[in-house]
Amino acid sequence: MRRAAWSLLLLIAIAAAAAPWLAPNPPNQRFDNLLYAPPTPVHLFSDGLRAPFINPWRVVNRLERRFDADTFVHVSLRWFTGGTLVTGEPDAGAPLLLLGADGYGRDIFSRLLFGARATLAVSLVSALLATILGACVGGFAGYTGGWLDGVLSRVSEFVLVLPAIYVALVLRAVLPLVLPPSTVFVLLIGIFTLLGWPIVARGVRAIVLVEREREYALAAHAAGASDSRVLWRHLLPASAGFLQTQASLLVPAFMLGEATLSYVGLGFPNTIPTWGTMLQDASNVALLGDAPWSLAPAVAIFVVVLGVNLLAQSHGRTPVQLEP
């Protein structure tokens, strides 16, 4: 199971890294005649076995989203051309849409691959930073006890309850209207780290509270170890399991949080796809039955989370979902 989890996560990481090569179309190329187009099936047979080809979609009715495959035109898939692994003929109106097109006529599959980069980068880095910060604060609070512990606990509770969207709104007002993507990246990571550390801190604090009374901690004390040494070398590693699972929990929470923030106007600009913003396009529930492929980002998020949970499980830790 561990190997399965690792290979799954590795696959996703590679897919994200190799997105420009794996994606059949540029993520922002719009095909005006293919809004909401379904996936293009790849055929192998036409009077016998042939090289894989597709039949381009011709729009019959835009409002009703009806498309007909032009069976007279066979567009062979081109391999290793133009810097991509495989593609159709996007410039001739016959793109390879493995997961169909969204409401702007953009290829969902390509956006999924490119979206993995932004989404995973923000979520993973924020989860890491939040875990580190939370572990430090929580460990310190749990170990020291006394009024300092009280203060830190109250601060973390306060941050947990603060309406995050308000903070985001204020930031939106204070910052210049158009932000370069790198600034947005740093900003999002900052916000998520600040929102995520209290959850980690509480758990670490609870663990350290208990662990510091255990025999090995007392023994270390007796042997003359300084407070910080006891904390770092002995108590915090006891919370390693918790930290692992908590870090893995933060990842999907931040993925969805990124979508919420872009609703407030504090996310990446429209030109940069992320799984969160793609999910917003799929929120029209009535159409899920007709266009199930629009749920692809939800499936992607689910797969990543499942992989991380499997990993946690295989290490003997229980995956828990404590923060949506």
Partner: protein
């Protein structure tokens, strides 16, 4: 014990005051105010009079001072959006959310813990299956579960696809209203409790597996105590400790999860009210919602700490400072 409770209550009160004050302050700093709701083409007179009525023409400090003074008299201001006092609005919404939350929590606890005991103590095909389903559910965020359930309800028509009461209810008696609510309850409860039940199941399973391998369990079996009794009277209480430790956080997660579920399933609770208030910059309503949210969270963490203290005497000695 009493001192512990008193201290926690005091801190909870301080937390509530600070949270709502911060919400009030941030609302002032955020761009636009409630008068934007009057539309971009409202007359100056109307805008000014609204500002005066809600003390928005004063400095933030003075507005905060006035609000605190009124709050001590249990007058939490008025809502611009609904044109009535804030307290009954928030009270009703909080009650709806509490209903949803409590039922979800109970469901998740019952289902999760019992399944966890089952899978933790045994091995075989069925426990394996339950564990896998649990893993899948833990990986599904409440947003996705609520979307899926609403979609299924809309397609099959087995359950109402949202809301708390039907629009066709006419002059219902109390029992009829209760039944109507019960009919609408399963959808949001399922969406909210499913990931949580899976969480509890996983936790309980792990800790049960740990507990079952403890020496005292072996001793009990060796003494001839029947297996079920060993499980329930000896192993299970010990296995509850990690769950109690997490219970407080679970209640907190319930609050934020309910926000999303309420939104998708149109359940008229605190989450939806807060969202509407935020959108309209209805400052006093937002402050009251933030305060209620803080109260829920404080209650949750206090419950969690109490449970943890009850389950593990070692923690009791070092009460939170």
């Amino acid at each position: 014990m009493a001192r512990f409770l008193a201290r926690r209550l005091l801190f909870s009160l301080i937390l509530i005051v600070i949270t709502s004050s911060a919400a009030l302050l941030i609302a002032r700093l955020a761009p636009g105010d409630m008068t934007s709701q009057l539309g971009p083409f409202a007359s100056q007179v109307e805008v000014e009079s609204t500002r005066t009525r809600f003390n928005l023409d004063r400095s933030p400090i003075s507005q905060w001072g006035l609000w605190i003074a009124r709050a001590t008299r249990l007058d939490f201001g008025e809502s611009f959006l609904y044109n009535r006092p804030v307290a009954p609005l928030v009270g009703r919404a909080a009650a709806n959310t509490a209903l949803l939350g409590v039922v979800s929590l109970l469901t998740a606890t019952l289902v999760g813990l019992s399944l966890g005991v089952f899978t933790g103590a045994r091995s075989g095909a069925l426990p394996m299956f339950v564990r896998s389903v649990s893993l899948v559910c833990v990986s599904l965020p409440p947003l996705v579960t609520s979307l899926l359930f609403v979609f299924c309800a809309a397609r099959t028509g087995w359950l109402p696809a949202g809301g708390m009461v039907s629009s066709t209810a006419s002059n219902p008696s109390w029992s009829a209203w209760m039944i109507d609510v019960l009919w609408h309850l399963p959808l949001p409860v399922l969406a909210l409790s499913l990931p949580m039940a899976a969480t509890f199941e996983r936790l309980q399973s792990q800790s049960m597996a740990d507990a079952v391998h403890q020496p005292f369990v072996l001793a009990a079996v060796a003494r001839g105590v029947p297996a079920s009794r060993v499980l329930l009277r000896h192993a299970w209480p010990t296995s509850l400790r990690p769950i109690c430790g997490v219970y407080g956080l679970a209640i907190g997660a319930l609050l934020s999860g309910s926000f999303i579920v309420e939104f998708v399933t149109a359940w008229p609770g605190l989450g939806r009210l807060t969202f509407e208030a935020l959108r309209a910059r209805d400052v006093y309503l937002v402050a009251a919602c933030a305060a209620t949210g803080a109260a829920f969270l404080a209650l949750g963490t206090m419950t969690g700490d109490l449970l943890l203290a009850a389950a593990d005497p070692r923690v009791r000695q070092e009460s939170v400072g």
